[in-house]
């Protein structure tokens, strides 16, 4: 389980996170939704210790992050984390070199799944294919948790469908996934848990299926209620 406990953060005088708390379970897809610039990316960065927080605590399987944690949790930011002059094969080799949890077999399978060519240079890829390589680098790791920042933004519809397919496939297995998005409609049926964020705060945290069952509302219905209030 990933536990985010009452974290706060300021950029200069601006408070971007005002005591954010939520949990994300293994085997579930948790979706952080906020309309715009509400610190979703900052939360993911904070989980990975890529930005300091001012107070609060983040636990991964009950522990604060340490170097070994990076074999258990991986982060796919919205831009690719490899050098532009690398070929896809170089990037895969780099991962294989540094991570014990890198699964070369799954990486090869993902190449096929996304219809990517190993010999292509990252700088030559289309936006959609860059996003797919970025995703591949995270998904091919045998980790418990995967964080994804806006995996669907700014790419074409076919790439989007392909990426959505990943979520229903064995490629996700029983891992815990946290994704951020501001556009829910593509993935409404795919997610387990929803965390609605606005203005640096969690407005509501709920299970998507439970809200449909108990209240007969769609995720978007709940969003409309919460954000309009």
């Amino acid at each position: 389980m990933i536990e985010v406990k009452d974290i706060t953060k300021k950029f200069g005088r601006k408070e971007v996170l005002k005591g954010v708390s939520f949990t994300a379970n293994k085997g579930e897809i948790t979706c952080l939704i906020g309309i715009n610039g509400v610190g979703k990316t900052t939360i993911l960065n904070a989980i990975m210790a890529l930005t300091p927080i001012h107070s609060g605590q983040i636990l991964i399987n009950g522990e604060t992050i340490k170097k070994e944690s990076f074999e258990k949790i991986t982060f796919i930011p919205d831009a690719i984390t490899m050098l532009p002059n690398m070929r896809i094969s170089d990037a895969m080799e780099f991962m294989d070199d540094f991570y014990n949890s890198w699964n070369q077999k799954r990486a090869t399978e993902l190449l096929g799944f996304f219809k990517l060519k190993e010999s292509d240079r990252i700088s030559d890829l289309s936006k959609g294919n860059t996003a797919k390589v970025n995703l591949l680098l995270g998904l091919a790791m045998d980790v418990d948790y995967i964080l994804m920042d806006e995996p669907f933004s700014g790419i074409d519809i076919f790439s989007r469908e392909q990426i959505a397919d990943v979520f229903t496939s064995h490629l996700i297995e029983d891992r815990g996934v946290i994704i951020t998005t501001h556009e829910i409609s593509d993935i409404e049926h795919l997610i387990d848990k929803v965390v609605l964020l606005d203005n640096g705060q969690v407005l509501k945290e709920f299970n998507a299926e439970a809200v449909r069952e108990d209240e007969g509302k769609s995720v978007v219905d709940v969003m409309r209620e919460v954000f309009k209030a």
Partner: protein
């Protein structure tokens, strides 16, 4: 350790192309220098002796014999060395900033490696060190070759042959780059290493706190320099030459080590707790 070595290998490969181009420039320019300077010396000699009918002995008295010294005084020799120094100095900063800027976000990857983040820092530091020492070693290899070329170019009675050590000894500027004693070598390059570590730490401050970090970095640098020179300052202003120079040197070495360790520790802390992507 394994990941540190892999990182060093990776970091070096990132600059390898530029590095080998620089080595090629040094080689070509210095060899060309030997040839051009030799030719112009011989031309001058020919002109003076055969056209102006100056006696050979008189010519030697006025112009001196041809030697590598003459080449080293030229832009052919110092130009590329200055270029290399400039590139290394520039790369001290670029080696960090290239990971933050541009389309890629490679710093994410570096900070998410399952290894102590200090290893990323040390790998970059090692790369700078390797580049520098590589240049020095390359220059040492070039000396005897340049000496040989000179022998081909200039007849025996017009030249003065010098050994590598002699060559270096004849130039103060060259001694700065390639000290002739091992102790000096360690001291000079140790000091250089300490300075690079200090600069890296200042960069870490800037990367953690941005504009405020520039001030913190400068502040840290100032403090480190003061700390380093404390023994000398005390000696000068208070104790009136209480210590022997050798004791003072030893104390300075200790201070240098302390300052460097402080820088590495501070950087490690910043990378672990305060860094921002």
């Amino acid at each position: 350790m394994k990941r540190y070595l892999k990182l060093v290998n990776f970091e070096f490969n990132r600059i390898a192309k530029v590095y080998f181009v620089l080595l090629a420039i040094v080689l070509v320019s210095q060899f060309a220098g030997v040839i051009v300077e030799s030719k112009s010396y011989l031309k001058e000699a020919n002109h003076m002796i055969y056209e102006e009918l100056m006696p050979k002995a008189e010519f030697f008295l006025q112009y001196g014999p041809m030697s590598l010294e003459r080449v080293f005084a030229s832009i052919w020799f110092f130009g590329p060395i200055a270029l290399c120094i400039g590139v290394v100095a520039f790369y001290i900063f670029l080696i960090w900033y290239r990971d933050w800027f541009g389309k890629n976000t490679f710093i994410y990857r570096l900070l998410m490696l399952p290894t102590a983040r200090l290893n990323v820092f040390l790998a970059k530091l090692t790369t700078i060190l390797l580049m520098t020492l590589g240049f020095v070693a390359f220059q040492l290899i070039l000396f005897p070759i340049e000496s040989t070329i000179l022998k081909w170019m200039v007849p025996k009675d017009f030249r003065m042959d010098m050994g590598t050590l002699e060559v270096i000894g004849s130039f103060r500027e060259l001694q700065m780059i390639i000290p002739t004693s091992f102790i000096e070598f360690i001291l000079y390059y140790g000091a250089g290493f300490a300075v690079v570590t200090l600069l890296f730490t200042a960069i870490m401050f800037e990367r953690c706190y941005r504009i405020k970090g520039i001030l913190l970095g400068i502040g840290y640098g100032f403090l480190a320099v003061v700390l380093f020179f404390t023994p000398i300052l005390i000696q000068e202003f208070l104790q009136n030459h209480y210590l022997y120079p050798s004791e003072l040197l030893l104390l300075e070495i200790v201070m240098g080590l302390i300052v460097t360790c402080c820088s590495i520790w501070t950087s490690s802390y910043l990378l672990k707790k305060k860094i921002r992507v």
